[in-house]
């Protein structure tokens, strides 16, 4: 059984904007799934529909086999949502926000309080339990929304950019926490603009653009599509004469100099990187350290989105040409 199954999901807003043109998704039970897309691609609309905050125009949704049109209550009981925007009462106390959310799912107050304590402790918010939500920092507010989403122990947790604006230390601890939750059996769907986050946490991925699913595969097979990787090499000593890069044996590596201390190189996935280092060494160039120029997933993401947009533009041009021909 799939944790989430979406077929041909469409959404046209009242002002005529076609936000979703046909999104298809299948998320396995227990998966850690990345839902990516550029701004305005339709990710938040999709999540809004899955969580009952947005009315769909067409399509089918099943959550753990519960059809959204026939068993909405059962479907909703399985889902926990951490939205992109803060959406709690700023004048309520932290613990009340979490306990009340448990109440809305029919969880007795005592049990909801126990769970609130458990999750607030895990997310390092228990000390702030009696503080008004508006007094929390941005990172704390995000963690509060995670605790609130977990109080009814959902089988499917949906996180819409949960680490936006959060510092790296808290972000890492949130990753660790989410990995633990996932390891305990909770299926997680994550949307994020930090592609490093998606690459390190998620096993499967879907990319949405212009309201359509343009990629839906495992993270491994997606990353395999990447044929080249670009590295930045940091040199131990400044390179004064860049002409050496154009001569043999370095010319074949197509190295470019960024500044006196850094070089950039694009390497085929199956190429032997030691050969490059040997050749550099023979020319008296020592590499101190290196890093990927861009995140691998980021590179692929940009490529897929650009390709999709080119295709869309091509289709549009062809359509216009054909229409022009018809008019004539």
């Amino acid at each position: 059984m799939f944790a989430l199954e979406i077929n041909n999901l469409q959404k046209i807003y009242g002002n005529g904007t076609e936000a979703l043109k046909g999104v298809d998704l299948k998320v396995e039970e227990g998966d850690f799934f990345a839902l990516l897309g550029p701004n305005g691609a339709g990710k938040s609309t999709t999540i809004g529909i899955i969580t009952g905050l947005v009315n769909k125009s067409a399509g089918e949704i099943r959550v753990f086999g519960h059809d959204f049109d026939k068993a909405l209550t059962a479907a909703k009981s399985c889902i926990g949502l951490v939205p992109q925007e803060f959406n709690f009462n700023q004048f309520e106390r932290v613990v009340e926000i979490v306990v009340n959310q448990g109440g809305y799912y029919g969880i007795p107050r005592d049990l909801a309080y126990q769970r609130a304590e458990h999750y607030l402790r895990q997310l390092e918010l228990w000390e702030k339990r009696n503080v008004m939500a508006r007094e929390l920092s941005g990172g704390m507010k995000r963690r509060l929304m995670i605790a609130r989403a977990l109080v009814h122990e959902p089988k499917l947790l949906i996180l819409d950019e949960p680490t936006a604006g959060v510092d790296i230390e808290i972000r890492r601890s949130m990753w660790e926490f989410l990995s633990q939750i996932n390891a305990q059996g909770t299926t997680i769907i994550l949307t994020t603009h930090y592609l490093e986050e998606a690459e390190s946490l998620c096993r499967n991925i879907a990319i949405i653009d212009h309201g359509c699913t343009i990629e839906h595969t495992s993270m491994k097979s997606l990353l395999k599509q990447l044929n080249t990787e670009t590295f930045i090499l940091y040199l131990s000593e400044p390179l004064r004469d860049s002409s050496i890069l154009q001569s043999s044996p370095l010319a074949r590596h197509a190295l470019t100099q960024c500044d006196e201390n850094t070089l950039e190189v694009c390497i085929d996935r199956d190429a032997d990187i030691n050969q490059l280092f040997n050749n550099l060494s023979t020319q008296g160039i020592q590499v101190l350290s290196m890093r990927n120029k861009t995140n691998r997933l980021e590179q692929l993401f940009m490529h897929l989105v650009a390709k999709n947009r080119n295709n869309a533009e091509l289709r549009k041009t062809l359509q216009q040409t054909s229409e022009a021909g018809t008019i004539r």
Partner: protein, 257 residues
């Protein structure tokens, strides 16, 4: 959701709503007490003594039921319209919308919150009235029924206002331009028999007139309107507005895109 889970969900909304207005009692419970005391001093004592009796009652005693019910109407309406609109504005209403709590329980919970505030303010105003008049209740059951149904009716009306509201201006327009005039012209301070025939007929189109007069009948035993008609109107308005509010909620008007 099982029935016991639904009960927990409803109880959660009611407790949250109750705590909300109790926490800010200086803004919610105290002002009606002061306003009513001023009404008693100015209209009851100073001006009332010049007016004489109405239907055999001192003017002060005659206006007590209307003043209590006016406080109930204003507070029940104000509680729900401000609470639900704030939830919309802060988007905390999404906490309820993503949950499996059925829409009718969300509506019932907010209405119960409005009724709770209406009851508490009604009791406070009644206590204030004890200092100025001999408060008595002729028909307890009827008084409580009208009190409860009126609080419920205006709580639902406040909910509908909040659903349609897009700004804080929108939640004050109806109370200022519709509710207050209808309440003041609903026979709180006078019997419609004191009006010219034409205005008596016009007054009969004001639903608040029936509520105030039936409540006055419950308390002191006099009324300008037929009791059966009054009860019918109040119950019918409750049913129609509840059904309409639920329909708006089910369609997601103002809260779902």
């Amino acid at each position: 959701m099982t029935w016991s889970q639904k009960y927990i969900a409803l109880k959660t909304i009611i407790i949250k709503e109750y705590l909300r207005f109790i926490r800010i009692w200086i803004q919610t419970v105290l002002p009606p007490a002061i306003t009513t005391a001023l009404y008693f001093v100015i209209f009851g004592n100073l001006i009332g003594s010049q007016i004489g009796d109405i239907d055999g009652f001192r003017y002060m005693d005659y206006i007590v039921p209307g003043l209590i019910l006016m406080a109930v109407i204003t507070n029940a309406y104000g509680n729900v319209v401000s609470s639900f609109y704030s939830a919309k504005f802060q988007r905390s209403v999404e906490e309820l919308l993503v949950s499996p709590t059925p829409n009718y329980l969300i509506l019932l919970g907010y209405v119960a919150g409005g009724i709770a505030r209406g009851i508490i303010v009604g009791i406070v105003v009644t206590v204030v009235a004890l200092f100025f008049s001999d408060v008595r209740i002729e028909h307890y059951g009827l008084s409580l029924l009208i009190f409860f149904l009126t609080a419920s009716l205006f709580s639902i009306a406040g909910f509908i206002n909040a659903i349609y509201a897009n700004s804080f201006d929108d939640i004050s327009i109806i109370p200022t331009f519709v509710l207050t005039p209808l309440t003041y012209l609903g026979g709180i301070f006078y019997s419609i028999e004191m009006l010219p025939t034409f205005w008596q007929s016009v007054s009969l189109f004001n639903p608040i007139l029936y509520m105030i007069n039936s409540f006055r009948f419950g308390m002191i035993g006099v009324t300008d309107t037929n009791l059966g008609v009054a009860l019918g109107i109040i119950i019918a308005f409750n049913i129609v507005l509840f059904a309409y509010a639920l329909r708006l909620l089910n369609r997601g008007t103002g809260i779902r895109h």
